[in-house]
């Protein structure tokens, strides 16, 4: 914002030179800015920035995942902000059934935040839309597909119809309960529970590196991420408090997770609610990098021939939120004989797997098409193995591969590669 103020410094002398009448009107318009365009009453919508965004020529449009997938103006970032504004001021009445499409638009956004890279205001559109979602919730207008997620969270403490953590035995995942004195707490995401091989690999790697850690799957719950996306703050708050308690009981100083979404929620999002977990909270690849640095993790075996060529898919939350594109590459670069390929859009500029945020509930078909686009970008490297480090990416990308190509292309977590050379 200070950059913007600096940018408009030049207006000062122009105002000085204006004739009296014009100056009076201009100054009045300046003073009345908020009154003129801000609605009356209570609302949580970030009107000022929704207006800034809706009056932008859509400068981030070329890199907006939902727009570039749907290929319609309707999905453009500034239009979403515009509808958010109109819903808030009531120009589009959110209470009317016929306006449900407009409400749904508020959820058709991934959390990939490419917009932030290009935006002169450094907005992420989703964070603006989230403020509109809060008002919709207050008016009891939360869409059904969101209600279902909240119900699942409240009923099972996870994002599934059943408590997915309790499936660890049938999936062959070892559960390590804390003795209250752990070095590390391995915080397994609910989405990760859908990939037992990844969890098993991570446990094996941590054990090989001699780390004292726990997983506490008997009491483990979701981080509450979906409630934060939907902005159902009561549920979000409940999960924040409960997780803080469970995490603190482990005694661990470092919390590692295989899910970048969990990291974002446990740190930034909890903090914004006033729930601070006084621990180092990092992604598991960042921890592995440290283990390699400290000489605790090394790769002894040769990489099997079928895994020698891989393409990296950076999870957007690691690349743009944790601002870390280095750890994954650091680890992969230490694997002898591994040939690493990069897609055109990578690192800070990575494109989304389609499965981030609320869009995959609001418009599943669009999410699948976005996944397909990303898969095509990965395929363009000419390699058949795509390496990532996020369960949502692995889930989303899988939707992007056609049935008849499922055998040909493999999506793997970085841990699944590492255990092959330990």
């Amino acid at each position: 914002m200070s950059e913007i103020l600096e940018k408009y410094k030049w207006i000062g002398p122009i105002i000085e030179k204006m004739d009296r009448d014009l100056k009076r009107i201009f100054m009045k318009n300046f003073r009345m800015r908020d009154k003129n365009f801000f609605p009356e009453g209570d609302y949580k919508a970030d009107i000022k920035n929704l207006v800034n965004c809706m009056l932008c020529p859509n400068m981030c449009r070329f890199d907006c995942g939902t727009l570039q997938t749907s290929l319609t103006e309707t999905m453009s970032p500034a239009y979403k902000a515009r509808i958010g504004y109109y819903l808030t001021i009531g120009l589009i009445d959110p209470m009317k059934k016929e306006n449900q499409d407009f409400i749904n638009l508020m959820y058709k956004c991934t959390n990939e935040e490419n917009c932030k890279i290009w935006c002169p205001f450094e907005f992420s559109v989703v964070s603006l839309l989230e403020t509109v979602r809060e008002d919709l919730n207050d008016k009891n207008l939360m869409p059904d597909y969101c209600k279902q997620q909240i119900d699942k969270l409240n009923n099972t403490n996870t994002i599934e119809e059943y408590n997915i953590y309790r499936t660890y035995t049938e999936k062959g995942i070892e559960n390590i309960e804390t003795d209250g004195n752990d070095e590390v707490f391995y915080y397994i995401g609910c989405e990760s529970m859908k990939f037992p091989e990844v969890i098993k690999a991570n446990i094996e790697i941590l054990k090989k590196a001699g780390i004292k850690f726990s997983t506490n799957l008997d009491s483990k719950i979701c981080c509450g991420g979906p409630a934060f996306n939907i902005r159902e703050m009561e549920t979000a708050n409940k999960f924040a408090m409960k997780n803080k308690e469970l995490i603190e009981a482990t005694g661990a100083k470092t919390i590692i997770s295989d899910c970048p979404g969990c990291i974002l929620t446990l740190s930034n999002r909890y903090e914004k609610l006033g729930v601070k977990i006084e621990k180092q909270i990092i992604h598991i690849v960042q921890f592995f990098k440290k283990l390699i640095d400290d000489g605790k993790l090394s790769f002894k075996n040769k990489i099997p021939e079928e895994f020698r060529k891989i393409t990296i898919h950076d999870p957007c939350l690691i690349a743009r939120n944790l601002k870390d594109t280095e750890s994954i590459r650091f680890i992969l670069n230490r694997i002898p004989d591994l040939e690493i390929f990069e897609p055109l859009y990578n690192k800070d500029y990575v494109h989304c797997c389609g499965w981030s945020g609320t869009n995959h509930w609001a418009d599943r078909d669009l999410a699948i098409r976005e996944a397909r686009n990303r898969i095509n970008e990965l395929k363009d490297t000419g390699v058949n193995i795509f390496i990532s480090a996020c369960p949502l990416c692995e889930l989303g990308l899988a939707y992007g591969i056609d049935e008849n190509e499922k055998e040909k292309y493999k999506i793997m977590d970085i841990s699944e590669l590492i255990i092959r050379i330990l």
Binding site: N36, L55, L71, T72, L91, D101, P120
Partner: protein, 519 residues
């Protein structure tokens, strides 16, 4: 008697009902005040047209939903942002279509001709003169699904792409492979290849790489009645009148461009960033004129008048109360070194003071950071830019004339300029203005007054009213002045190709603004 009265009342009732139905038919988004509401096309059986469009493009590629109609109700005309904030919409389409093949576009056009329904090609909607606004309603053909890059030919140095592709996505693809088109408008992120061709666009690096008409080597176009025409890709030819060139600048009124082959260049090996501050505007013009006269073509040249120098380069001590000029020379090292030496030498001979690389770096950092459009409407001010062309011998006169006459307009807050495009023979000026409509005028009337004042001054000096944004709605009033008697011939050509006037009506050939008093 009673029967007659009932019959009469019934008739009146029917008329009212019909009128109401008609209003409802095109006033779907009743909450929004419609700006262009005169002479809307009358679509008798909308459901039937919808079914037929579905038959052409498939049910997923057409919409009549409110949420989609509203999304296509505007382009990026800057006054449109005031309307957006005030809950008004410029135009309201009846159908949005997203065809995927040339044949589908052709079939839509044939249907539109049969039913006399307007068709409006839509790229990325970044046009600033109303070109893509559906002023009479009708069918939007959104070109976004024509977004494939088809071939790079390294030997010929060409790229062939479908025209719905976003400019930045084309450029990023090329850059990753070691090429550039050199066409870098400020709207690179928000415009399409088709929009560039339709508006005869010009990039910021065009002194070296040329404007879009210098870059396009071949095209495929669908004529208004549905004929698909494939023009050869040629470096140049002497094959009679160059019919294909007619479509560069057609603004979606003579045909829909679906595919184009463009020149590309190896990505520049090096760049030299040069800047000079001059004591007067005239000195800066003279220096740049002499540079071009020596056949030196820096990719970028930009002269900022004293007001704009203050706006953008206040932090540069040597530029205080001066006129800043930035240059970018790029290409192979030896050539860049030569261009740099001659550019610097010429600037110094014309009283320029070297300001180093920092001002140019500042320009690179800020050139895509557009925030003015977000600020101005909230202050109830009207803001816009007008770009025009003039030959060297009248350039300084034109600048002063536009500034002095426009400053007299009641409500004007500022008018400033930079010189953005350069030729050995002339230049393109880029004026920016802001103002507040006085009580007795609407925003649109004030806006029209400024536009018309600027353009009158330009025409009086012998300049051309538009350099690269096109005509659209904003400048159509001036077409007869600009083109003289040949404007009739231009209209005849339009009539020949589009006898039913279905392709993007209301632009170029018609004066929707009347004499600036459109309400």
């Amino acid at each position: 008697m009673v029967y007659i009265s009932i019959a009469k009342n019934y008739k009146i009732f029917l008329i009212i009902l019909l009128l109401y139905k008609k209003i409802l038919m095109f006033m779907d988004l009743k909450e929004f005040e419609l700006i262009y509401k005169q002479n809307r096309c009358e679509i008798k059986d909308k459901k039937n047209i919808e079914t037929r469009l579905k038959g052409i493009v498939g049910k997923n590629n057409i919409s009549t939903k409110k949420i989609d109609l509203l999304a296509y109700s505007k382009d990026t005309s800057l006054i449109g942002f005031n309307w957006t904030l005030q809950g008004k919409i410029a135009g309201l389409p009846d159908f949005i279509t997203w065809p995927e093949t040339e044949e589908q576009i052709s079939e839509i056009l044939k249907l539109a001709n049969r039913e006399k329904i307007p068709v409006i090609p839509y790229g990325e909607g970044s046009g600033v003169v109303g070109g893509a606004i559906p002023v009479y309603g009708g069918i939007i053909i959104d070109m976004k699904k024509f977004n494939n890059i088809l071939e790079i030919n390294d030997k010929n140095l060409t790229v062939t792409a479908q025209t719905g592709i976003n400019g930045m996505n084309l450029e990023r693809y090329l850059n990753a492979r070691g090429y550039t088109t050199g066409h870098i408008p400020q709207s690179l992120y928000i415009s399409s290849l088709g929009g560039w061709i339709a508006h005869r666009a010009a990039g910021q690096f065009s002194t070296k790489y040329g404007k879009i008409e210098d870059i396009i080597l071949g095209m495929e176009v669908i004529l208004p009645q549905g004929k698909i025409v494939k023009f050869k890709t040629i470096s140049r030819a002497s094959t009679g009148p160059q019919f294909d060139k007619l479509f560069i600048g057609c603004e979606g009124t003579l045909g829909i461009i679906t595919k184009a082959t463009l020149k590309i260049w190896p990505y520049p090996e090096t760049r030299a960033l040069i800047s000079y501050a001059f004591p007067t505007f005239e000195d800066s013009l003279e220096a740049t004129r002499q540079i071009l006269r020596q056949q030196i073509y820096p990719a970028v040249i930009r002269i900022y008048d004293a007001d704009e120098t203050f706006r953008h380069f206040d932090h540069i001590e040597k530029a205080k109360n001066k006129v800043m000029v930035v240059f970018v020379c790029e290409g192979i090292k030896s050539l860049v070194n030569l261009e740099k030496a001659i550019t610097m030498d010429t600037c110094e001979k014309n009283n320029g003071v070297a300001c180093g690389e920092e001002p140019v770096e500042h320009w690179f950092e800020t050139r895509f950071r557009v925030t003015e459009t977000s600020l101005s409407p909230t202050l109830k001010t009207v803001f816009d830019t007008i770009e025009i062309e003039i030959l060297w011998d009248k350039a300084a006169d034109l600048y002063h004339s536009v500034i002095t006459t426009t400053k007299k307009i009641k409500g004007l807050i500022f008018i400033t300029a930079h010189v953005s495009h350069f030729y050995p023979n002339g230049v393109g000026f880029y004026f920016s203005f802001a103002g507040i409509a006085p009580k007795e005028k609407t925003d649109l009337e004030f806006y029209q007054e400024v536009w018309n004042t600027v353009i009158k001054a330009v025409e009086d000096c012998g300049g051309s009213f538009g350099h690269h944004h096109g005509v659209g709605i904003n400048r159509s009033k001036w077409m007869p002045v600009e083109w003289g008697v040949s404007f009739d011939t231009i209209k005849q050509i339009k009539n020949l190709l589009d006898p039913n006037n279905i392709l993007n009506p209301g632009k170029i050939y018609e004066n929707l603004w009347k004499n600036g008093d459109e309400k």
